[in-house]
Amino acid sequence: MKVKIKAKFFAMPRDYQGERELEMEVSEDFQQALEEIDSRTKIGIKEKLDKRFVILINGRNYRKVLEDKGKLEEGDNLAFVPFLGGG
């Protein structure tokens, strides 16, 4: 099954990508979707996820969300946020 999601890029991932957000159709299976997003963006998910940045699904840590609902759903927001501290 394919679902429509919005990928949003923050700080450094936005610099790599060169845009703030992107609408995409991806597989509902999260791992599969990550590969699809990786091949269509410049942010380097394989190399940098959980090292330089994290993904929030609808504002919450992706691992936590996947524990709860298992897969992506139509209309999900995926935010790519670097590990940053406050100001």
Partner: protein, 612 residues
Amino acid sequence: MSNNKYFGYAGKILTVDLSSSDYVVEDTPFDLIVNFMGGKGFGAKILYDELKPGCEPLSEDNIMVVATGPLTGTLMPASGHVTLSTKSPLTGIWLDSHCAGFLGPELKMAGYDAIIIKGKAKKPTVLVIKDDGVSFEDGRDLWGKFTFESQELLRKKYGENCQFMCIGPAGERKARFANIVSGGRGFGRGGSGAVMGSKNLKAVVVKGTRGIGIYDLDGFMRMCTEAYNELTVSPDTGGGRPKYGTNSIYSFMIEAGAHPVKNFQTGVFEAVKECNEDVLDKKYYKRHIACFSCPINCSKASRVDDGKYKGKFTEGPEYENMWSLGAQCGNSNIGSIIYGEHLCDEYGLDAISTGNVIGFTMECFEKGILSEKQIGFPVKFGNDEAIIKFIEMMAKGEGVGELMSQGVRQMSKELGKGTEKFAMHVKGMEIPAYDPRGAFGMGLAYATSDRGACHLRAWTLGAEILDVRNRIDPFATEFKAELVKSQQDFYAVIQSAVVCLFLNFGLTQRQITRCLQSLTGIKEWKTTEDILKIGERIYNLTRLFSMREGISAKDDTLPQRLLREPTKEGPTKGVVVDLDTMLKEYYLIRHWDREGRPTKEKLTELGLDKYK
């Protein structure tokens, strides 16, 4: 070279009495060093012992302790900070305030770990500290002048290489959240500028040429090199922060619903499309600025090139002020934020409190509690010109500005009509730029921060939202008490070793412990646990200080808006903070009783027996 007994320290404390224009220089006691480290720790111990309980913060009885720490002014990265501790005229309780830049190292090179400022000068005075010399000079010609002009005149008179702390017109007229400015930086929050004004002390000039002894030179150099390397590879200190400054998190905080809008009425800020860190970077940031010995250079020089604020500039704007003069007031005009921040620096006003108060006033106007006649002009959310006018009115004490400059707690007391429900403060300190309804830990952090609502005593958002390993749910209460307590203790260490708190986003506790160990050789500071114990001791002592001034468990709370008023839209829709559950756990972990008082056993364990 340094000629003192202790490595990492200047070895002397200078006590100044402004009433008699006298001073004494004494050795820094070793037990003060071992148990309280420096900076905030020195302030806590000295003020608890020497300040008369119940003293009026703006009377000559109040004391200011300006202190460096062992790491200040060394090759340790980001070691240019200095702390100031006093009793706050805004909150009436404990206040420690921290200033970036270059003043800390200069003070240490002048030979002092701390200066204790007492009394009140008969006329406006400039205190000049140059190596061994201390003098009290006439400051009448500077009284009334802006902070930047004052510093320029002082520089001409005392030399290019001096560092300063200086108040502006707001501090002189004792506005309750007046700041002290140093270069383009400041001692923010809580009104230390008003305390300085109440002492008739316009400025302090510092020049020092000595050095600092190092216990294990090779080891310390190795640790500093490692620290520099670590900082350059961290996504924060080597990525987002150097490029975007403290605004690196701006859009993300709005995405998470943690950036309060219109006095915390909502977490949705549509204007983020044109008002964000990317626009700041591309359009306004002109160059980077670093503090002493700092590779992060998070500070930015900004200028407005077009529009009605063309030509205005600031060192910033900081994330906090992008919020306080921005979303908090429903304002997305970046030019006005830059100008507003500059004005706050010139007058010497804390920009967080300033913006918080303006947002509160705008809500009062929109709700019909304050009328156009009372204010003098209409002040709907988003009115950038009103923000600028309010800053001037608060600084000068004009019209409604006089009441506003006393803070939201006092304002809501005088206005009544249920305004206390949306007066966004804790213990009298205005809440900064994070909405706890987007991350519950911040609610506990604000409620238990020792100086009133503050994001620099614990900043839980990273762990709650970004941390992959812990997977802490931002909207749950579990683990928040542990998180807040451990951050408070560790931040107290950083603020007593006196380095920039942002090191915490690039270095581990272990690395900082090893830096302290190789610098000082103090055998009681072997492990991270030893160091954290000092932080815990300090946090308990500042608690005792504020309890002596009358606070108790009932003050460890949040405004009703955060506890009972869910936001109606955005990622935090329907959420309120469950503070009680977190607070109970927090007291338990801290070994504080139900009244929030440290237990006798805890005080004994921390070596604070005498304060039982």
